[in-house]
């Protein structure tokens, strides 16, 4: 077992974990933050994307012990309970960027990271390139791309 301390969605968390625990397992099973999904478990689909020190990473391919001392943000941390949705979440709702919703938390965390890196004015081409690591089995991506472009702009206004 290993002792870990990290910040999750702004709150300090201390835990004793088996060193082989994946970050996604820790978030879902220990902290009951089940918004982060496991789609493939083989590093391909991006359903498990969270922010580690502000950068998008695949939590199914990250050991919880390696996040010791670091800061994690999950989909639950984008907007407080009952508060208005984060502009990127709102854009997905508005533009039908989801159907079953399984890929959505990863899509949104990836999209917010993309805006942090590349700004608020994103071409469809850039968005599609940046979605290389996120798979959706429902939407055909068209509305996801529309949602991200709109969400990026909205994030610029609310900032």
């Amino acid at each position: 077992m290993a002792k870990i301390s990290l910040i999750v969605n702004g709150n300090p968390v201390n835990a004793n974990v088996d060193s082989r625990t994946l970050l996604v397992q820790f978030l879902r099973e220990n902290l009951r933050l089940t918004g982060t999904h496991v789609g493939c478990d083989t590093s391909q689909c991006g359903a498990c994307v969270v922010h580690l020190d502000g950068k998008a990473v695949k939590s199914c391919t990250t050991l919880a012990v390696m996040a010791d001392g670091h800061e994690v943000r999950t989909i639950e941390g984008l907007a407080a309970d009952g508060a208005p949705l984060h502009p990127m979440q709102e854009a997905f709702r508005e533009h039908h960027g989801l159907q079953c919703g399984f890929c959505t938390p990863g899509m949104i965390m990836t999209a917010v990271d993309l805006v942090n890196r590349k700004g608020h004015d994103l071409s469809d081409h850039v968005i599609r390139e940046e979605l290389e690591g996120n798979l959706c089995r429902c939407t055909g991506y068209q509305n996801i791309v529309t949602s991200i472009a709109a969400g990026a702009k909205a994030m610029g206004k609310s900032a």
Partner: protein
Amino acid sequence: MYEFKYHRPATVRQAANLLVKNEDAKVIAGGHTLVPVMKQRLASPPHLVDLSHIEGLDTIEMKGRSLVIGATAKHAAVATSAVVGEAIPALAELAGGIGDPAVRHKGTIGGSLANNDPTADYPAAVLALGATIVTNKRRLKAEEFFQGLFSTALENDEIITKVMFPLPKKAAYIKFRNQASRYALVGVFVAKRPSDVRVAVTGAGSDGVFRATAFEEALKKRFSHKVLDGVSASADGLNSDLHGSAEYRAHLIGVLTRRAVEAATAK
């Protein structure tokens, strides 16, 4: 995944001592090869030594006339580094094309080289640019370092600390992605160096990264895609699988080398 003991050393020396003391211990950097492999139980090291918290091991800087990249520099850092963009733009582009944004936030140059996946991108750059791989024990030339599929000259307790790239006059990397895995079906790195020209090929060889000497000879006379008319790669020793035959890969080596030379001369 089987159980292991996790170690977080603060220095390369501490990391090396942990490797000597604990038999079958392995280092982990980005974990984006090792974690998947451990999940599949294809590796089960009893000890993991985390290099990602060693300060200064990810530094990117110019030293004299070489670009020096620390072993734990992440693909995203290399892709966006102004130093790399200035010194060897082709290398920044290569790093920016590895996997996807989340992979690039974790994967490291040292991990990629130590793994020597026959379809990885960095080995082509290291071989074509004639880089030197520096470990806690010695310096290795690219030719000595790569030793076939997933094998390198690294000893069990040896740690890559940095990679030194001499600056080329011109360089470019072009990869043709496998549509499923998105790794290189074939990738070609072309470098016009002060003394010679090198063409390194990844993805195609059944023994890992290699140099396409017929193309190098032609390009030494004149660095232009025009001298490559009539030059072709042999299918001998190339991979043949459901993604493409050896002949198809040989064809791609020719096409991509021409495109890479064109891209390098256009810069």
